[in-house]
Amino acid sequence: MTAQTTPGTARGAPAPRELTRGERWGRRGPLLPGLLFVIALTQIPFLFTVYYSFQDSNLLRPESGGFSGLANYGAVLGDPLFRNAVVNTVLLTAGAVLLSLVLGLGLALLLDRAFLGRGVVRTLMITPFLVMPVAAALLWKTSMYHPVYGLLNWVISPFGVRVDWVNDFPLLSIILVLAWQWTPFMMLILLAGLQSQPPEVLEAARVDGAGPLETFRSITFPHLRRFLELALLLGTIYIVQTFDAIYMITQGGPGQATTNLPYFIYLQAFRAFEVGEAAAAGVVVVAATLVIAMFALRVVSSLFEEES
């Protein structure tokens, strides 16, 4: 691994002299188009969002505008609908992430063993993650959850129960769809973790007479921990941003029962045209995401250190 770091250092090492300005730009040159492009399309819009969040701005009132200080933040944080959206986001994310993580771990352990048709099962398993989320949401809303014709009700009908899934358990319905979609993601990351275990160590444990449980507890789990963390953090970051399923299945309802932060901001911006408040809510979301993201970056960083 360290050999791969040598080209740069080898070329730089014999000449500790300062690179000339031209040489430096020559080296940096290939990076710039991509870097500038990403800055232009992500950072500049975000700066605008921060700017809007301090403006009294509504797209329907062209005369609106002007600095409004922290008024938007006050309005957003004082808005019971915003707080409701925060609670929904936390419940939704925690529910979907934990459910898919647990299922993903179980499946990864199952698929780590050799059995007939393992490749086929793996291929079947990853399919829910590949299905266009909008199509998946519609599929669940109609074929799975429908109170009369839905397959879920058909499955539980021998028990004499019929459930109006989306109306009676809106949050759970969304969580189940998300868990279905994200379990393959968790499984893939954890399976990669399991398969990166050095076989000698497992073999040594077996020779020393460690049972499967003992081996899992003292060897596999510590090795898997960083992969679990990465799956948890990446899953959280992606699932916090859930929009498609809510837009397609519940439209944030019934009432406000499934309005999460992305959907709340969408409503503020594109239905109420309250640009200022939507922007303030967006900045709050970014601040919250940043906390999770920092942990995620640390984990990626540690996996990354190992590599180089």
Partner: protein, 296 residues
């Protein structure tokens, strides 16, 4: 086989020798077979909704919503004909254009960037690398308003080119990280040999590096294509009638209220199929893409 050999000493201590083989064999097959079967059952369960969607697309509407569900039916292509007759094709072309062009653009921008961040060690390369990653963690809701306003002021709303640029930016972190992870795996001797031959940067890139990472580039492109094709949030907010993509087409079925399940399933199948095939083809590299190159 080695398993049996390893256990034999244990069994040697058992009191009733002749009986030992039978339970032993059952134990050897038992848990392994059971767990394999369990994996199959769970795998099929997870896949079943997708299979159901596929099947329902070949039903008549009267067979699509029944209680109990209809499992056996005469397949028909009526629903596919109906969807294609309902102006589905322009949406398909918009999706294709936005996904393919944004993928190509992301690769073109990411290859030199990944090169600068791996084989040439530029100052602060680590910061730049993590900067790309951090943009992936920025929620789209935090950018959508300004993008909408800027696009509106430029007259670029409802334009596939706008979506293409947004998707390119969205996929850049994945592309840079993935391609970089392929570049650092290149054997040192090969690069060294190219330099000994006096190959310049560009020739080294074109005739040595690119051919070697071609499979990696293909994998990266497939992953970028998957994300762009499935993207909904930017598509629904930045397009209206001209540039709307396939996910936006499916929105029309929300209010269908269970009347057009078969047609909906046919449309969903057509919408999902390209990515399912791309994903199956790229499944070896899926983890690397999803973890932004952090996991091999």
């Amino acid at each position: 086989m080695t398993d049996v050999g390893a256990r034999r000493p244990d069994h040697g201590q058992e009191p009733v020798r002749p009986r030992a083989p039978r339970p032993r064999r059952r134990r050897r097959i038992g848990p392994g077979f059971g767990l394999g079967l369990l994996a199959w059952v769970v795998g099929v369960l997870f896949f079943f909704p997708v299979l159901w969607m596929f099947l329902t697309g070949f039903k008549q509407e009267s067979q699509a919503s029944t209680d109990p569900p209809t499992f056996w039916f005469e397949p028909t292509l009526d629903q596919y004909a109906a969807v294609l007759g309902r102006d589905f094709v322009p949406y398909l072309l918009n999706s294709l254009q936005a996904s393919v062009l944004s993928t190509a653009l992301a690769i073109v921008l990411a290859v030199p960037a990944a090169y600068a961040l791996s084989l040439v060690r530029i100052p602060k390369w680590r910061d730049s690398l993590f900067f790309f990653l951090s943009t992936k963690l920025l929620p789209p809701v935090a950018m959508i308003l300004p993008l909408y306003v800027i696009a509106r002021n430029l007259g670029a709303l409802d334009d596939v080119r706008t979506l293409t640029l947004v998707y390119t930016a969205m996929n850049m972190p994945i592309a840079v990280w993935m391609i970089r992870s392929f570049l650092v795996e290149l054997p040192e001797e090969v690069l060294e040999a190219a330099r000994m031959d006096g190959a310049g940067r560009i020739r080294e890139m074109r005739s040595v590096i690119l051919p070697m990472i071609a499979p990696g580039l293909a994998a990266t492109a497939l992953i970028c294509f998957i994300f762009a094709w499935n993207e909904f949030f930017f598509a629904v907010n930045l397009t209206a009638s001209q540039a709307a993509t396939v996910p936006v087409f499916l929105v029309g079925f929300i209010s269908g209220e269970g009347l057009f399940w078969a047609r909906l399933s046919a449309a969903s199948t057509m919408a999902a199929l390209p990515v399912i095939i791309a994903g199956w083809a790229a499944q070896r590299w899926l983890v690397r893409g999803l973890s932004l190159g952090a996991i091999k």
